[in-house]
Symmetry: C2
Subunit: 402 residues, 2 copies
């Protein structure tokens, strides 16, 4: 078997943790398996490097930031190789140049294009554990790039895909995907399995153990992911195309407290207005989530939407500055809101799911501000103070703890 | 003009120093010159990385140590690029992969074989300052190597050679090569120029501003070196093939207090004994400096030699363990000795130099333990307590302060 394992920054945060990860990789190796390990930069390394850069140039170029950042993962893989050697396990570290991890040319947020497997296969053939730097690539100019948020997960999934690995294990500080955040819902239950689509919707709804990009890539190439804890040996959650039919309707409830609702009133009721509005936001990199349009008075319309709380002020300022062009009369913002979502591949064929969710909220006296649905997801916007109560009520109503 | 500048770890030790170096490079660039800058790892970085490695594996493999160490220079060049950008100077950082800095395969102490100038020339053509990682290379396996002690100087000289640079400036914490160590000889004078051979002999005698390897390479390829201070603008010392004939006999006096004299007595007077003795030491990486052989009693011979003080105990133990094979009767060691050397290309044609040196020592009552000479160097071994007195007396006798 060929296993790809990915460990994040916290898992390799100090010498003891590095030794701990080395031990786990050694165990896998000693079963006779081929092992490829993808590592992120150690704990706070990335932040420290960014601080150094900021001190020298607050507007450092992305190319040079990538040149700086990529030293982080290289340090991790070199130290991990040393830890494995200390246990008498053959191992070798490789960076993006050595693997030839080719990406698009945009620094700071590149996409993987092609991975040359020759060197890795050669080292596996020599019965070595191969340690690969996550997050980093090289572009057509022969320069370092980085893959942006969740980049190391993406590296691991891509390697699993091109190496036709039997499993791709993503080690995190939680031991799997839960029906709800265990810190909020006491009897939340770990899921044995979940589909790619459900995982994607959960991530979008603020319950992101995995970054969307890596899940999308896993779905595209049919790589079965396992989300596991780097601290214990529990089984984790499998993320795959289809899950057993026996599974219940809903796989989880997600809560996102960092939402803000913006309402734009008095827009002209003519074609192209919505385009102007959202294009203005998109061009300024403001991500819009739920959108709801309603009829206003006097031949105008109102549009409400949610954005990340941190981006709310920018969005408001932007809209005020483009008031006449967008034809809006007024903008209001409500920041103390939360998004509560249920996700489940089973709900497509079960019309009663939404009603059941709304009933649960009614029973605990939670008012719904907005509603948005997709094929496998229902999201409601509630007051921020009601978020946790709503989550618990829904978790209970669908019997997710059983 | 194309200028290669090399700055060591202390010169880039923190943000202020990085900005200071950036300013100097910017000034050169603004004169219209092409500028290539070679950097070492920042200040204590190398030591910190080594500590991290040692904590995880005290016997870390050299390959993985090189993988770890090379992050140091990459950090320096990326930060320097950011500093230059902050001054609106176009600049780009390149590591050993990007330059294709090809070396022999031995990790930790590789030799440069070939440098691909294409990328550097391309960036210079775009009127960018090109920042290159010193000390590091890649071998035929596509792995990082490091060049060992003085590696960044070697990188700079090699780049100056392949790029046919007009000058190769080595910036250090002293502002040139002096007739003697200014901390010991108060009126020591900075030399305007010195030959490669003199520089090599000075380095061997413990007055090493430059590492031998970089001077040897400069000599081989006819690269004129300039040793300058990174802290002030003074002219520095030129190191080249020939210096003006007007120059005096002696270019400098060097003192090495870290010597130890070992005397091996009662060796059989037959062929191959000296070979056995020094081969045993060489195989154990003990460097021998001055060697002196004399006739002992009863058909035996005695051999004395000097080694680095730190290696004296190892040398003694080694000789005791091979007593019968080497046919020695006894070994003694004197650690409180110092080597005093005078170096000068002019002494070849001046027979009176040695006599003048010995006279100077006699005048201040310094006893000579051993003498060794080369074409452009005379070294004497004296008691350690006499070292500085001897140095001053010789400096005075040859009128080096004038």
């Amino acid at each position: 078997m060929l296993i790809v394992k990915k460990f994040g920054g916290t898992s390799v945060g100090d010498s003891d943790r590095i030794r701990n990860v080395a031990r786990r990789c050694a165990e896998e190796y000693q079963k006779g398996n081929d092992v490829v390990v993808v590592l992120s930069a150690m704990g706070k390394t990335t932040d420290l490097l960014l601080d150094q850069a900021r001190e020298i140039n607050p507007k450092a170029s992305k190319r040079e930031l990538d040149m700086l950042m990529t030293t982080g993962e290289q340090t991790s893989v070199a130290l991990m190789a040393m830890a494995l050697h200390a246990m008498n396990i053959p191992a070798i570290s490789l960076n993006a140049f050595q693997v030839s991890m080719q990406t698009t040319s945009n620094y700071g947020n590149a996409r993987l294009k092609k991975i040359d497997t020759e060197r890795i296969l050669h080292e596996l053939h020599d019965r070595k554990i191969v340690l690969v730097t996550g997050f980093q690539g090289i572009n057509k100019f022969g320069d370092y790039t980085t893959l942006g948020r969740g980049g190391s997960d993406t590296t691991a999934v891509a390697l699993a895909a091109v190496l036709h690995a039997d499993a791709c294990e993503i080690y995190t500080d939680v031991d799997g995907v839960y029906t709800a955040d265990p810190r909020i819902v006491k009897n939340a239950r770990k899921l044995e399995e979940i589909t790619y689509d459900e995982m994607l919707d959960l991530a979008t709804c603020g319950a992101g153990v995995l970054h969307n990009r890596s899940v999308e890539m896993a779905k595209k190439y049919g790589v079965t992911l396992v989300v596991r804890s780097s601290l214990n040996d529990s089984e984790g959650t499998q993320v795959k195309e289809e899950v057993s039919v026996e599974r219940m309707l809903i796989s989880g409830v997600a809560l996102d407290k960092k939402a803000a609702r913006i309402s734009v009133m008095g827009l002209k009721d003519e074609p192209g207005i919505a385009f102007k509005l959202f294009n203005t936001l998109a061009k300024n990199n403001i991500n819009v989530d739920i959108i709801l349009q309603s009829i206003g008075r006097d031949n105008t319309k109102d549009i409400s939407f949610t954005v990340d709380e941190d981006e709310a002020d920018d969005a408001i300022a932007l809209l005020e500055n483009n008031k006449s062009r967008i034809t809006l009369q007024s903008v209001t913002c409500k920041k103390d809101v939360a998004k509560v979502s249920i996700v489940g591949a089973g709900m497509m064929s079960n019309p009663g799911v939404a009603a059941k969710m709304f009933e649960a909220l009614y029973n605990v006296g939670v008012n719904i501000n907005m509603i948005s649905t997709s094929e496998i997801r229902i999201t409601v916007l509630v007051d921020q103070k009601d978020g946790e109560k709503a989550m618990n009520a829904i978790h209970e109503a669908f019997g997710l703890a059983e």
